[in-house]
């Protein structure tokens, strides 16, 4: 079979202890026998490990921070596109997704394809909107309130019992056992990720996750449930195992079907001791542990690229149960010249 020659631009090269999905995404599509890829890495920080990892990105460009807005993003992408002729762009940071979504028309005009949720899908699954999402799609969710200041903390509903979760709109989540801790976490999170900050009912149970891919027409192209076996102090999976939980798969199919979800997603769920599942978050992209799904037999990044190209993809129906992953850290030696190039020129 003749391979498709493509140039793919991928962000999320921050393969740290709080990793982005960029490197596992690249690893997954490089293993596909359908593509002959040139990989363009998009980085925000000079020390994102993926910039320097051998055999990952063929070329790396620094990007302006998402907070600089659509114009800065498009100017940089046009600059990169003139040199690299990007076929498909895969943004992997929650914070940049909105900018990419509202730039879709311009990207399409340039000939750059994406495969992302719609703005409506993106907006209605925000942590601050989770309660409405649960009511609309008949999914159990914890009680949540979006807060923007001290006044809101003072007015937290009496129905909230401590402990509660305090969460940033994109990242970070802390448990608070009293009002003082809510204030402390609110200050820390809002300084880093902005407003609103979400206060969420604490659901006791086991955290389980599903990685999934929707085709935008209500079909689930793939879904693999996982339980974190080893969790870092940032709450990230350092080890995990695929599990045979049909209820999690059914819930995923229900959500994808009802929302007609387009693109990758990660469902974060809490399974209570009464075997109830609470949806605590929907991340609108494939997660950093996506390679576990590939290892279990579902190459969702490959399927995503095919759908971005307008191809019909047959859904995966099975995966290997009890497939495990364990992350590791590794000290790469980095040529100072490479660090200098990315720091000064913004490309490597």
């Amino acid at each position: 079979m003749k391979k498709m020659v493509l140039t793919l631009a991928v962000s999320g090269l921050n393969n740290t202890d709080n990793p982005g999905p960029g490197i596992p995404f690249i690893r997954a599509v490089k293993e596909s026998d359908k593509f002959d890829l040139r990989i363009i890495g998009l980085a925000y920080e000079n020390l994102e490990p993926g910039i320097y990892m051998p055999e990952m990105a063929d070329k790396v460009y620094k990007m302006p921070y998402p907070s600089e807005g659509k114009k800065a993003f498009l100017e940089r992408i046009e600059y990169i596109h003139q040199r690299e002729s990007i076929d498909i762009l895969v943004p992997n940071f929650d914070a940049e997704l909105h900018t990419v979504m509202i730039s879709e028309k311009e990207l399409t005009a340039l000939g750059i394809r994406t495969f992302l949720p719609t703005l409506q899908q993106f907006e209605e699954r925000h942590k601050s909107e989770l309660q409405k999402f649960g009511e609309k799609y008949d999914v159990k969710v914890p009680q949540s309130v979006a807060i923007t200041g001290m006044n809101d903390i003072n007015k937290l509903p009496a129905s909230f019992e401590y402990p509660v979760m305090v969460k940033g709109k994109f990242y970070d989540a802390y448990i608070a056992y009293n009002k003082e801790q809510v204030i402390s976490h609110f200050n820390k999170i809002s300084a880093h990720w902005g407003l609103p900050v979400i206060v969420q009912e604490f659901i006791k149970g086991t955290e389980v996750n599903v990685i999934a891919l929707g085709d935008g027409e209500g079909n689930t192209i793939g879904a693999v449930p996982m339980r974190k076996q080893y969790i870092t102090d940032k709450g990230k999976a350092w080890g995990g195992i695929t599990i045979a939980d049909t209820r999690m798969i059914d819930l995923t199919r229900k959500i994808i079907s009802a929302t007609r979800w387009r693109g990758g997603m990660e469902l974060e769920l809490i399974k209570t001791i009464n075997n109830e599942y609470y949806l605590i978050e929907i991340n609108p992209r494939l997660p950093a542990w996506l390679y576990l799904a590939v290892g279990a037999g579902q190459n969702l990044p490959e399927a995503m690229l095919l759908m971005a190209l307008g191809q019909k993809v047959e859904p995966y129906t099975t995966y290997d149960v009890a497939k495990m992953f364990v992350r590791y850290s590794y000290d790469m030696m980095v040529d100072l010249d490479n660090f200098q190039k990315i720091s000064l020129n913004g490309e490597l």
């Binding site: 339980r227 995990g240 695929t242 599990i243 045979a244 939980d245 149960v321 009890a322």
Partner: protein
């Protein structure tokens, strides 16, 4: 639930894994094969020198642990 010959037990629905000693493994395999408590007591006492009352004490403790970890349905 997958049980290996070495006593490694995996609950595939939760991803939890457990290690059993040889006696635990033997009993779990009897349970898996549908033997009753009385039949298991008889089997074990045929093979090992143990009083029925001592066996019952340890056996039902083990059963409760299996139930607690959702590896055995509560009867």
């Amino acid at each position: 639930m997958a049980i290996s010959d070495t006593g490694f037990v995996l609950d595939a629905t939760t991803g939890e894994s457990y290690s059993l000693n040889p006696m635990g493994l033997e009993i779990l395999n009897y349970l898996k094969n549908g033997l009753t408590d009385d039949q298991i007591r008889e089997k074990i006492r045929e093979k090992y020198d143990v009083e029925a009352s001592t066996f019952d004490l340890v056996y039902f403790d083990f059963i409760r642990a299996l139930q607690q970890f959702d590896l055995l349905e509560k009867s």
